[in-house]
Each structure stands twice: as C-alpha cells, then as structure tokens.
Symmetry: C2
Subunit: 396 residues, 2 copies
C-alpha cells in the first residue's frame, strides 16, 4: 500500500501568496466599485525590453524552419548563454566560469531541486523572516530547520552565532521580504562561518540588480573563499521582468567539495537526469538581457521601480514609521503602527484604503508586526497607494 509523503500535513494549508490573492478577491467581489491597488506580490508590471522582444521573435522564427530549428538543448544551458552570464559576473568582480553556471526555468524551481544534492540528515538554517519556499521545501524533504531570528535590533541582518550552526545556510541579500542587504564585512563573516563549519550557503541573489551602494556585494563570489562554500541562485524575473517569461541560473563552483564529492559534477549529473534543458526561445531572449543594449534597456525599467520605492519611503518618513529596504531593494519592510499584527494591518489597509501588501507574519513568526510592500507596480498606482497610506497613517 502506497504511503503518501505525510510531511505535507506539516505545511500551512495554503501557500502565503495564494492566501493573499484569495482574501483580495473576496473583498473585490463584495466591493465591486472600489479600486484595489495591489502592492503585495513581487510581480513586475513593465513589459519586456525591446532587445529581449526582438531576440524572442527571432528565436521563434528559428523554430519555424528545419535549417534553424532547435531540438533538445543541453541540460545545463546553452553555451552562449552560460558565457554571457559568466561575462556579467566578471563585470561584478566575481570570477565564475561558464561551466559553473546552470541555466534553469527560474530560481523558484532550482531552490527546490538543488536540495537533491544534500543528504536528508543535514540541518538547515533559515534567517527569518524568510521567503516561505526555503522552509516548505525542507519540511517536505524531512530536514530539521533552525530559525535564526532577524529583527530591528540587528537591522534585520543578523551575524552568525552558535545558534546558527547548520549544514545548509540560506542567505537572501538584498533580502526578501525585508529589503535589508548585507555589506561586504557582514557577508564575509557568514562565508567564514560556513567554511569553519563545513556548511554550504544557498545564496539567493534574485534582487542583486537593485543594489546601489558600493559596499553591498552583488554576488557572494565577490568575497574571499565563497567559491568553496556557496551556491548562488539568481533569476531574470526581477532583473528583466521575466516573472511570466521564466529563466534563472544557478552557480555551483568547481571548488565546492564536501565529503570528497564535487557538488558541481553532482549538479551536472542531476540536470542530465532531471531535466531536458530550458526552452531555446527563452534562452535566446535571456541572452539579449546581457548585451550592452539589453543592459541599458532593463536599467530604464529598474529606475521606474526605484522611483516607486521612493514614494513609499517618503510616505513612511512623513508618518514617522520605522522601515528598512527600498534603497538597495524593491521591497519596503515597515513596522505596523500601534503594535498591530501584520494580518490586522492587512485587513485595515484593504478595508480603508484598498491597498494590498503582505503581512510580515507570512514570512515566519518574527515577521509578526511588520508589513511588506513591493515596488513593482505601475508608477501611477504606486504613487496613489503611497499617498493613501500616508494619509491613513497620519490620521491615526
């Protein structure tokens, strides 16, 4: 008799973002006249840039003709795209070779798949508040999860300590949901800690492109020794508006060895077995992102999102509310007023000003009392949402 994976019962009933969606839809149906401003899920609103669109059309045409048609792609990624991504790392001052880069259908997919490299007995450390997938995937795999609390006392950027000792260390910087970003000294401390303990860091770099300040590293491989202890997972979702187009990449360095096994070779073997590669069309579109023209064009879009962040930051500054993020990140993480919980504040915003955000509680217990806004909406709607928020907070 087949036994299902009983660990599903340990997961929350619904994934956070689906709960938000359902609650918002319920409100919308009851209040058809109200204009809801969705500042919750980190989904981009600006279209793909021209260079990407042109490359996608060209790739579709390639698939229309036997002479240029592409069947199965290499499971690890197209050589030209791997090379383009390696060049991008070079410009950051990080040395990553094309054969250490693995093209994926998105960071979300790889964050789960990558766990197949590790023994089920390994322990996992998650800095909370955290992106829910870090915890849920490890619950399903039966691993023990250690929660390291972040908070205002450490600006949501905790340093490693005895309690953080685990085999797999999740670090997301700039952080989702808090927008806080480790500087070079802080991140080097985590790299050193991982090496001392033989741990492996899973570094989620999905928001690196929003970094403005010199002292914040874009890639963990800018730091000494990271190639011996870190896997980096990145995505074009936020960089180039690929949330609905899909493409990501994962770096597993050649020097990353544990128990005598080379994790890069294991990952290569895993990809060969577990995938048939990423769509030729999407890989051609992604390649355009890394051209000089593509880089110029995506940065135009990013500047719009940065301006969106400034609307929220001005509103919160005016209301005297504590927050972090916004500067090197597309997320604003604010303290709820008057000791409210995140879900209470969610309900109040939806009812009173029809603005949707994400309750900090959804990212772990120590997110309680905080609230996340995304800056990926349209400028008009984001400005309006920030104005409504400012007026509400001042009235209290």
């Amino acid at each position: 008799m087949l036994k299902p994976n009983a660990r599903y019962a340990q997961l929350k009933d619904a994934y956070l973002f689906n709960t938000i969606y359902r609650k918002t839809e319920e409100y919308r149906e009851k209040n058809p006249g109200k204009k809801i401003l969705r500042m919750g899920v980190g989904d981009v609103s600006l279209p793909l840039c021209k260079a990407v669109i042109a490359a996608l059309h060209e790739a579709v045409d390639d698939q229309a003709c036997a002479a240029t048609f592409h069947g199965y792609m290499p499971e690890v990624g197209a050589p030209s795209l791997r090379k383009a991504i390696a060049g991008y790392y070079g410009k950051m001052g990080a040395s990553v070779a094309p054969d250490e880069i693995f093209v994926s259908s998105g960071a979300c997919d790889d964050l789960g798949d990558i766990l197949e490299l590790f023994d089920g007995e390994n322990t996992v450390m998650v800095i909370e508040p955290a992106y829910p997938e870090y915890v849920d995937t490890n619950i399903l795999a039966g691993r023990e999860v250690i929660h390291l609390n972040a908070g205002e006392e450490n600006s949501f950027l905790p340093a490693p300590n005895e309690a953080a000792k685990a085999d797999i260390l999740y670090i997301c910087s700039p952080n989702n949901p808090t927008g806080a970003a480790f500087n070079r000294v802080q991140l080097q401390a985590w790299v050193d800690f991982a090496r001392e303990n033989g741990a492996v860091i899973l570094f989620d770099a999905a928001y690196e492109v929003f970094i403005e300040e010199e002292e914040i590293p874009h890639s963990i491989y800018e730091l000494q020794g990271a190639d011996q202890c870190a896997i980096e997972i990145c995505s074009l979702s936020k960089t180039a508006g690929f949330t609905g187009t899909r493409l990501g990449y994962t770096v597993v360095p050649r020097n990353l060895v544990r128990g005598g096994m080379h994790l890069r070779d294991m990952w290569s073997r895993n990809r060969e077995t577990r995938t048939n590669g990423v769509s030729y069309i999407l890989q051609k579109g992604a390649e355009a992102v890394f051209t000089p023209e593509g880089q110029r064009q995506i940065r135009e879009n990013l500047s719009v999102y940065k301006e969106n962040a400034s609307y929220f930051m001005e509103a919160l500054d005016a209301a005297g509310i504590w927050y972090c993020g916004g500067r090197n990140s597309p997320y604003i993480w604010m303290k709820c007023p008057d000791g409210m919980s995140g879900w209470e504040f969610f309900d109040e915003l939806l009812e009173k000003i029809q603005v949707v955000g994400i309750p900090g509680d959804g990212f772990g217990d120590c997110g309680r009392g905080y609230f996340r806004f995304s800056t990926f909406g349209s400028p008009q709607e984001t400005k309006e949402a920030a104005n409504r928020l400012c007026a509400l907070l001042k009235k209290r």
Copy 2:
C-alpha cells in the same frame, strides 16, 4: 559538516544519452570526412507547425506592451490551456477535468518532481528495459527499485505478477525504448493489480499520439478505475516537436487518495511551493496545438515520422531480424545479430556504416542484445540509414 547525497555514487558515471553523444563526437573528430546519420536520441527534426509559430509570435508581442503583459502565471497552468487539454482528453474518451491537469516545463521535469508526493519508504517497480530517469530519480531518493524484466517471450509487454508488487509502478506505453504498446485488456490488468495492492501507477504517455490501432488506449484514464490509481505524465515534445521548446502536462485525478490524503491537492500545494508556473509564451504556443488547425498540422509532421519507421521496418523485414515497435511508436527495437551486445553493435554500426542508435543495454540489463532506433530524423537521412543498415545486415 554538510553531507552530500551519497547516492550519486550509485548512479552510472554519465547519463546514457550523454555517453552516446561523447562516443559519436570522438568518432566524428577522428573521421572528419564521414557523414554520420544520428538515429539515436529521440529528438525531433521537423520545425514547429505554423499555428504554434503564430501563437508564439503573438504571445511575444503581448509581453512587449504593458496592457497585454503577463507576469507570474498560475503555478498549476493557465486556465485556458488546462481547459484545452481537458478537451483533448474528452475526445479520447477519457474524462479528465481541467483542475486535474497541471502544466509543466516538460515530462522529464515532472517525472522527478512527482516523487515528492510519496514517502521515501515506498518501493518502486520498473518494467525493464526502461527510460533511465525512472531508476535514477528513485536511486537519488533512496527508494528500493524492483526490476520486472520484459523480453521477447512476452513481446516486451509483461503482465503483472507477484514479483511486480510495489507501491509505485512505472508504465510507459507506447514504450520507450521498445516501442511495444499495451492493449486495453493488458493495461486493464495493470490497473486492477494497482488497485488491489493500493499502488499508484505513474503512466508515461509521451508517445500516445503515435498510436494507430483501435485496441491500444491513448490514455490510462480510458480504463475502468484508473482515476483511482494512476497519475499520467505527458508532453508535447514528440506530439508537436517541443523537445527544444518545452511544455508538458501531468494529470493527478481528484479520486486518487492514499492514506486519507488527496494526491491532487498535495500536488497543487507542491506546485505552489516549488514553481512559479510555466512561461506565458510557451503556454500560448501549446494552446495552439490543441486547436483543430494545430491538430491537423502536427499530424502532417507525425506522418513523416511514421514513414521513417516504415523504412527501418522494411530493412529489418528484408534482413529477417526480429524487432518490435514502429507501428504505434516512433521507436524500433531490434535484436542485435549473431548474439552481439548492444554496445558491440553500436560500435559496428558507427565504424562500418556511420549510423548511430542506442544500445539496449543502456536501458537496463535485460535490454542487452537489443538496439533502439528513433524515427525522428529527416526522411532523407532516415531512408539512407535504413538502406545502409539493410546492406550491412544482409552482408553478414
């Protein structure tokens, strides 16, 4: 200290198809003047049909404009595509609802991911010879694999028996690599066996579109009770030439319950956690496959591959060699002459006639002494390969 997943050491050094590729490239480099005909890997050669190309271009244009831009897609698949696939099942005489259909990046990805539904202690039955991923993914997950041998004595279509008792039963029909296909009576016996034992069948239907004979079911859901014991995994790779474009779908029926848990709901929850959905562009392209015009166009391509099969079948008939497949399948599974092993025959074909196929040994021990040809090459090359093969076999 992190422990890597030590089970990688139990896998063969390289994935079968990569070994074939490497051996062929070595020969090519040493023999630059020889024209190699690759009839090995099941990769299509005909371009995408016009209806799909038009839909892909249209979807790319949608991504170029804020008003039509699509961000995150539903993790389970676009509603319109799920509905189109449900309609396709309806025409086969199988009742599958849209919310039992989950759109994926390809069957290969889902064949691994789906195992997250099951406890690690479950046993697995694989009918050998088999697609290597069935075995490798379960080795990595630490499950015990029971091998049920197929052979000429049962036309490579074994019936269930005591030795086949396991919790998870892999069935691929029409089969890769043998091309053999279960008829209704034979497949019903497997469904009944699964239900009696509380097992779950993972039914790989990747080649259903090649079925010509009335008595061969296209979907396992054409059979009584299959909705209570089977998950079906399918793909557009072979159906519509999507090997390099990527899209598949998996059916988890509402009535599939084990240990009180609804596998459909678990899979929904899994997808929400583990993916951010499949590319909007690819889903629009896939939807065009299920239109009347798309169906007509893909069938034109399929008739070319069917003619390719006939070239091999005629060659083997003329040489008096035993084989199966070809009729309801894009694969031909032949017995190697004179008791040769598959790898010996591989070397002989490469050296003497520069035709590449896949040694049966690569699909498990009981594939030793057999050899697989794919019919997905260009008609010209396939005809030439079949002629060379016929001449070689007659000379022996």
